[in-house]
């Protein structure tokens, strides 16, 4: 892998940047691989990388219907955090956050991971109690969460001038999650892809999988694509939103519904907010990117959808919530907005498991799955390589629904 550094940049400048290598190759598609990963999004690419890096499995193809890194990794709001409620979830996300922190160096690709802390703005006492429960449970797993006063909230976020004592929903305090950060989402996809490629993993873009193929004994034996049949004894489905579309071609039904979640950015402005602001009582969250845009998210749409679109009323609710706390943003302008679809399970926690089809693995149900990419990739690779789940993912099985054992995470999306 070509090394990236200031010196390589300077050296290449001398040759007018004509000698850079492609970040990943475009090899011809083979007839068979050890492992096929469907979906070159965050989870698919991370799984490929860790399969090669940690488990030495390099005869791997990542098949992507569209363009590499074009899934939800291209559309999310890049918040990385580990403030979860349940014992099953917290250690998983703690691991993910720590992997993210080392990722720039590990992949030699600057993710610009900025550990800038998240501030939960709290408006009611039941919420505060819930967050305190999180705080004390998170402490067991070394994730930090500290209660702060209203004054401290305002000190950390000077632009937050609303929510005063006479307002509709006065702020009563906040929680600070210092482990939280943001980074460059495209860099995560490209960094994993480049590193996986250098270890021998193949990326195949514009290679859409149309069906999963099973052998006569029921095991998975490969996939059918727009470029022909490709064989593999192990297939990982990492196609947020379209999971059931694919698994149903193998006769496998999964408890997933596909929904649309949207985000938007403001015009670029000089730095005004340095932390990630989250306010679930009103229903919005945002951070300011290094480009100066505020990256803002809110609640999901209610109904099922495969259309990456904006529901005007959901969008207006988010804007109204933000303006309540940041009234000076009234003249700030919306620059761009978009949607992405993802699938959700009955308990809103993910499924990472080998399915009842031997050799077929799914990683799905990611509802805010960006933060889970490194740990999701690592544990999935572990499962595929060792034929047994990684301890951190053990709870997130398909089978938990057989006994209706839910892992209910309130606030799985950052807002609501």
């Amino acid at each position: 892998m070509q090394n990236y550094s200031f010196f390589s940049l300077a050296r290449n400048a001398l040759s007018s940047h004509k000698n850079w290598q492609a970040a990943w190759r475009s090899p011809p598609l083979k007839e068979e691989y050890d492992v096929i990963i469907i979906g070159a999004g965050g989870h698919g690419l991370a799984t490929a990388y860790y399969l090669a890096k940690e488990f030495g499995i390099t005869n791997v193809a990542v098949l992507e219907r569209g363009w590499l890194g074009g899934g939800n990794v291209a559309r999310n709001t890049v918040t990385v955090r580990s403030n979860y409620l349940r014992d099953q979830s917290i250690p998983f996300y703690v691991k993910s956050v720590s992997l993210y922190e080392g990722l720039t160096k590990e992949l030699n690709f600057n993710m610009m991971h900025s550990k800038r802390t998240m501030v939960d703005v709290v408006h009611n006492y039941p919420k505060m109690r819930d967050l305190r429960r999180r705080q004390l449970t998170m402490d067991i797993y070394n994730s930090t969460y500290e209660q702060i006063t209203v004054e401290k909230v305002r000190q950390l976020i000077p632009a937050l001038t609303g929510g005063g004592p006479g307002s509709r929903l006065p702020i009563i305090g906040g929680m600070v999650h210092k482990d939280a950060g943001v980074n460059r989402h495209d860099a995560v996809a490209w960094g994993y892809a480049r590193a996986a490629d250098s270890l021998g993993v193949e990326m195949h873009q514009k290679t859409g999988v149309t069906a999963l193929l099973r052998a006569s004994n029921g095991d998975i034996q490969g996939v059918e694509t727009n470029k022909g049949v490709v064989k593999a004894k192990k297939v990982v489905v990492a196609v947020s939103g379209h999971t059931t579309t694919l698994t149903e071609t193998a006769g496998l039904k999964l408890p997933l519904r596909t929904m649309n979640l949207t985000a938007f950015v403001s015009e670029p402005i000089k730095p005004i907010v340095d932390v990630i602001v989250n306010c679930s009582d009103l229903g919005f969250y945002f951070s300011q990117s290094d480009k100066g845009e505020l990256v803002i998210g809110g609640a999901p749409d209610s109904a099922q959808s495969f259309r990456r679109d904006i529901k005007q009323h959901v969008f207006e609710d988010t804007v109204g919530a933000m303006l309540e706390l940041f009234p000076s943003f009234k003249k700030l302008k919306l620059l761009r907005q978009w949607g992405g679809h993802l699938d959700i399970t009955p308990d809103a926690s993910p499924i990472m498991d080998e399915t009842s089809v031997p050799g077929l693995y799914v990683t799905a149900g990611w509802w805010g799955g960006y933060k889970a990419i490194p740990a999701g990739g690592l544990t999935m690779a572990h499962h595929v390589a060792k034929n047994m789940p990684h301890p951190l993912m053990e709870a997130f099985t398909c089978n938990r629904f057989k006994n209706l054992d839910y892992i209910l995470e309130t606030g799985t999306t950052t807002a609501r």
Partner: protein, 85 residues
């Protein structure tokens, strides 16, 4: 924001309605089905890329629950219930 055809009130803004999930199988007799069948009823819902039958409640209108058929890709409403009165 959809424009949903309520059987009583005709076309109304989506904000007047509450989404009630896709129409799955009918609720089985809980005393007559195997565990797996019961769990499937609770957790497996149709999730097609295309037309899906789904329940909506006209919460801020006439109060009727009804079923429409909507395309999950285009959001076009392909079938609405007949006008009833």
């Amino acid at each position: 924001m959809l424009l949903i055809n309520c059987p009583f009130c005709k076309e109304r803004n989506e904000t007047e309605f509450v989404y009630g999930g896709p129409v799955g199988v009918d609720r089985p007799d809980p005393n007559a089905v195997a565990d797996q069948e019961w769990v499937d009823f609770l957790t497996l819902v149709p999730n097609p890329t295309g037309p899906v039958f789904e329940k909506w409640w006209h919460a801020r209108g006439c109060g009727e629950w009804f079923v429409i058929c909507r395309d999950t890709v285009t959001h076009e409403i392909l079938e609405s219930p007949d006008e009833k009165s």
